[in-house]
Structures are given as C-alpha cells and as structure tokens.
C-alpha cells in the first residue's frame, strides 16, 4: 500500500524534526535560566571568583555571602522579610475579600446600570497607576498614613486591583445558573448563596488570586518607594536596592545571596501553584 510505503521516510523526517525542536527548546530554556542559575551559584562563591567564573560548577562552596548579606544593611534581613510577609499577607486577605464580593455581584446578580459599572471595572484594569498616585499621596498624607503600611494594604480591601475581580468574575460565570435557581427556591438568600455555594466553588480562582497577589505584592517596588521612608519599615526589594549604591561599590556576593533569598518565596509559590497561575493567565490574560 502506498500509504505504508510513504510513512517510513516520513517518520524519520518527523523524528529528525522533533529532535531539532527539542534541541532548540532545550538551548533556549538553558539560556533563559542561565543568569538565574549563575546568580545562585555565584552567591556561594568568593567575590573575586564571581567575576572570573561564568560557569555553573561550584569549585568551593562558601556561605559567607549569606552571613554578610543578612546583616549588611541597617537591620537584619529577617526584619525586611517579616515586613514583606506582613504586607503580602494583608494584601491577600484584602484582595480575596473585596474582589470576591464584587465579582459575585457582577457574575451572579442583576442590578441597575450593570453594563456601565462593568465598563468602569474593565477601564480601571487598564488605568496606569501613575494617574492616581499623586492625589493618593495627598490623601494618605492628610490621614497621617505616610510611612506606614496602610497605603499599601487598605486600598486592596476596597478592590482596587480590578484584575482579580475580572478573574473571579469569569470563573463565577462558568458555574451553572441552575444552582442559583435551586438555592433561591430553597429560600437561600444572596448572602448565603455567596458564602455557602459560590465561594467554595470558586476556590481555584481564589487560589490563583492569592498566588498572584503574593507574587505581585512581594515584587512591588514603586508604591513602597513612594510611601515608605523609615528604614525599619523597608520591604525586601527596598533593602536589596540599598546594596546597589553607586557611590559605595557593590558587594556582589552579598547582593546575590540576598537576591536569591528574595526570589525563593516567589519560586515556591510558582512551583506550588503553577497550574493555578497558568489557568489564571489563560482565562484572563493577566501579566
């Protein structure tokens, strides 16, 4: 049969092609991760070796960079980590609370001017934060909140991170409508419906929100830079920034050690929640 005759060379070509694809993907993957891996290895090297050794093979392992780095700034890094964890934890609670309430209303309830509010919601997702940052600064200054964590946390309890509202809304919409009808007939009001029925079913979207909130808040630099001035309140990224003082010359070993530590929480959340992150991006197109 002609089909079988033709299939033998074709599989050979296909195998060759798949080999090339694999080689290209592998090369790219290694290339992309190389700087990160090199930073990790360099954090375990002496400073003079960092500049001369571009390989990933550790010759001698030293933990001294971690010890120097940990106490290199005014406060030990435990302080900065604790600060960052406090802000991220509060931010997660805030986003889960405010965004789920709003998303529930948009996804499951009917109300007046809904198309208008939906347009406003989507508009705010695209709004650059720079447009509101100066007046926010003035508001928080009036309230006496400057140099506290309140400007970083409180807005999140009011659903300012509209992406997450959108993410949860998309998810809640996919829950069958019949559930609402049945619950309604059983005399279950909207509040119980939100808390007992919809919220438990929205768990994947809530998890995605929690993970993204953690990573974005953890990495956030712009807002802390504006609102925090006291060094005892610094977040991890702000503390890292102190290392790259152009006038003092950079102790790369120590910076790398602390940079590696600062990326570990993000990396852990990425590993643990990869499935949620990828689903979240696929459905909403988040960052």
């Amino acid at each position: 049969m002609s089909k079988q005759l033709g299939s033998a060379p074709r599989t050979a070509v296909m195998r060759w092609k798949s080999g090339v694809t694999h080689a290209a993907l592998l090369l790219l993957a290694v290339g992309m991760l190389y700087p990160l891996a090199w930073m990790l290895v360099s954090s375990l090297r002496n400073n003079d070796e960092i500049f001369s050794n571009p390989s990933l093979i550790p010759v001698s392992i030293t933990w001294s960079n971690y010890i120097t780095g940990w106490t290199a700034q005014e406060f030990p890094f435990s302080r900065y980590f604790l600060n960052s964890f406090s802000i991220t934890t509060a931010s997660i609670v805030g986003n889960l609370f405010a965004c789920s309430l709003t998303a529930f209303a948009f996804a499951r309830l009917r109300f007046r001017f809904k198309p208008f509010w939906l347009a406003v919601l989507l508009g705010t997702i695209m709004l650059p934060e720079h447009v509101t940052i100066v007046p926010q600064y003035l508001i928080f200054s009036e309230l006496g909140w400057l140099d506290t964590y309140l400007p970083l946390i409180v807005p999140k309890f009011f659903g300012v991170e509209a992406f997450f509202i959108f993410l949860m809304m998309q998810f809640m919409r996919s829950i069958p409508r019949e559930l609402d009808e049945a619950a309604w007939i059983d005399g279950c009001g909207p509040i119980r419906m939100y808390w007992r029925i919809i919220l438990p079913l929205t768990l994947p979207a809530l998890t995605t929100t929690a993970i993204f909130t953690f990573i974005w808040t953890w990495n956030d630099f712009f807002r802390p830079l504006i609102f925090i001035t006291s060094s005892d309140l610094f977040t991890v990224p702000m503390a890292l920034r102190l290392f790259v003082d152009p006038t003092a010359g950079t102790n790369w070993g120590a910076v790398f050690a602390m940079s590696v530590l600062s990326l570990i929480p993000v990396f852990v959340f990425f590993l643990a929640g990869q499935r949620f992150l990828i689903n979240g991006i696929s459905t909403t197109g988040l960052k």
């Binding site: 993957a29 700087p35 405010a98 790369w252 990326l263």
Partner: protein, 319 residues
C-alpha cells in the same frame, strides 16, 4: 476571554413589556447587589475616580506639596513639549522601548507557543521554565542581576572573552546599549503571552488542519491560512495588554540606572522621570500633567491598535 454578559433569564427580566415596575425579586437582588458592591464602589471613588479628577486639576497647577496649588492653566503641558528637553527624551526612550520590546516579546511568545503546541515530550516542563521569568521580570533582584550580567566585568563580557571577543564596555553603562539591555529583559518575560497563545492554539479546530491536509496544503500554507487568522484576536489581545504594560515599565530602569535614568538619560523611562519630578523634586502639578499625558498616549495607542485591528484581526464568520 469573552466579555459578554451572561444571558438574562427572560422570565425574571426587569423590563418586561407588560409590566411597568420591576419584579420584587429584581428589586431585592438589585439592593443586595449594591450591598456587595459597596467596598468596590467606595474604593473606586476614594482611590481611583476621585484621585483621577484631583490629578487632572493638579495638572493645571503649580504644586509643590507644601504650598497651596496655584492655578496655571495649561502651563505644565506647554512646558513639557516646549521647554523640557528631558521630558521629550523620556517620551522618546519609552516609545522606543515599547516599539522594540513588545514585538520582540510577542514574536518569541508566538514562536514558542507554536513549538510547544505540538505534542512533544516535556512540553509542560518547558512551559513552566519559559513562564518563570514573567514572574520575576519586575523584581528588584532580577534588575540587580541584569546590572551585573551586562556590567563591565559582567557575565556577558566574561563569556565574550572566552569566545575571543575583547569587550570591555559596560553594556548598562553605555548610552548606546543601556536601553537594549532593558529591551532584552522585557523579551525575557515572554512567558505569560506565550501561555495565552497556547490557550488560543488549543481552540483551533483540528478538522481545519485535516481538511487542509486533504487539499494538500503545506505547513507554511496551513500556518498562514489557518493558524494565523484564527489566532489573530489573541495576538491583538496580547498586543494591547503588553503595550500597556511596557508603557509603565519602571523597576528595571530605576535599578539599573540607580534611579537616575542614565547614562546620558538613555534609560529615562517616562514613569521614572514622572517619579523624579513628582517625588524627587516634588513638582507634583507637573507630575500629574505627565501622568495625564501618559494616560492619553496609552489610550491613543490602544485606540489606534483597535482601528488597525479591523484590517488584520479575523473574528470568524459570524461577527
């Protein structure tokens, strides 16, 4: 990704032709819905719309945070475009960055999505690896790493040295190359648009490819006539999203240049200059004017994209 509202149940519709008043249930639902919306509406007024209006007003004032704002009409805007060379530089740097890094990033994303969409072994692993940098791209740690990698004695130059290329220039310290390192950083974060492309590719019906096989279409033909048109709405979506992100890039430029936008203003991103003016010199009226100009620019580019999309985005037969 559809933004269409869920279909309303006709039997409960508040505007039934034979009734003037909305049903009792709708009125109750409406009340409860607004109750649920209270936090968001308060936040909207307090942290978004209120500040937007305030920022618009402040953009027409001379305001330094200490003294009361002085109304100067459009002077800030005039100053931007006629008397402030650094402003024009920052606009040019950002425009260059957006125009170069976004197509590069999306090109990588599309290429890799096409490769990973084939049923190859380990594609989930590759997907994870390519996605990871998207989560790290705006972190201070990675910006610091970039500063070292592209520094005078950095990883790149050491590699080049091994290859026999004697490169003693600092890539981040040279005004001609500093911006390129940031473009590379943005291209490095192609993972998240790639994931969106992958999700889009899954939606392309296999039957189309099978039909094309029967007609004897080659791989290029299939890509150009099936994959690309059906993926064009996703390409468009990614383009809009990543353009808006790129306009707002801040952290890498801030870290690599030590907050200055140097060398020779070559990494003076728009947002970085805005930060310098608003929170460095406390020229807050001017910073607000810059922010509003940014908003208008982002809006204009988005609108332009929507306009051009009519000519290349394919939404299927029924729309």
């Amino acid at each position: 990704m559809t933004l269409v509202d869920a279909p309303a149940r006709p039997d409960l519709s508040p505007k039934k032709p034979n009734r003037n008043r909305p049903s009792l249930r709708f009125r109750k639902e409406n009340r409860v819905a607004y109750l649920f919306l209270v936090p968001w509406l308060v936040g909207l007024a307090l942290f978004v719309l209120g500040p937007m209006a305030a920022s618009f007003y402040l953009s027409m004032t001379d305001y330094n945070f200490l003294q009361a704002p002085k109304f100067i009409a459009l002077d800030n805007y005039v100053r931007m475009f006629t008397q402030d060379p650094r402003y024009l530089i920052s606009a040019r740097v950002t425009a260059t960055y957006v125009l170069v890094s976004v197509p590069l990033q999306l090109g990588f994303a599309l290429m890799l999505a096409l490769l990973l969409n084939r049923a190859i072994r380990g594609s989930a692993l590759y997907r994870g690896i390519f996605y990871l940098p998207s989560l790290l791209g705006t972190s201070v740690a990675v910006a610091i790493l970039w500063q070292q990698v592209f520094g005078q004695e950095g990883l790149l130059n050491t590699f080049l040295g091994f290859l026999g290329v004697d490169a003693h220039t600092s890539w981040v310290g040279n005004p001609d190359t500093a911006l390129s390192t940031l473009v590379i950083l943005n291209a490095w974060t192609f993972g998240s648009p790639m994931i969106i492309f992958l999700a889009g590719l899954r939606q392309v019906p296999m039957s189309l490819y099978e039909a094309a096989d029967v007609d004897g279409a080659g791989p290029l033909r299939k890509f150009l006539s099936i994959t690309l048109p059906l993926l064009s709405p996703i390409i468009f979506f990614n383009l809009i999203l990543q353009t808006i992100h790129a306009f707002q890039a801040f952290v890498p430029a801030y870290i690599i240049s030590g907050g200055l936008g140097g060398p020779a203003d070559s990494t003076l991103f728009y947002t970085l200059y805005l930060y310098q003016e608003g929170f460095g010199s406390f020229d807050m009226g001017y910073a607000c004017a810059m922010a509003w100009t940014l908003l208008v620019a982002v809006g204009a580019v988005t609108a332009l994209n929507f306009f051009i999309s009519k000519y290349w985005v394919f939404y299927g037969d029924n729309s």
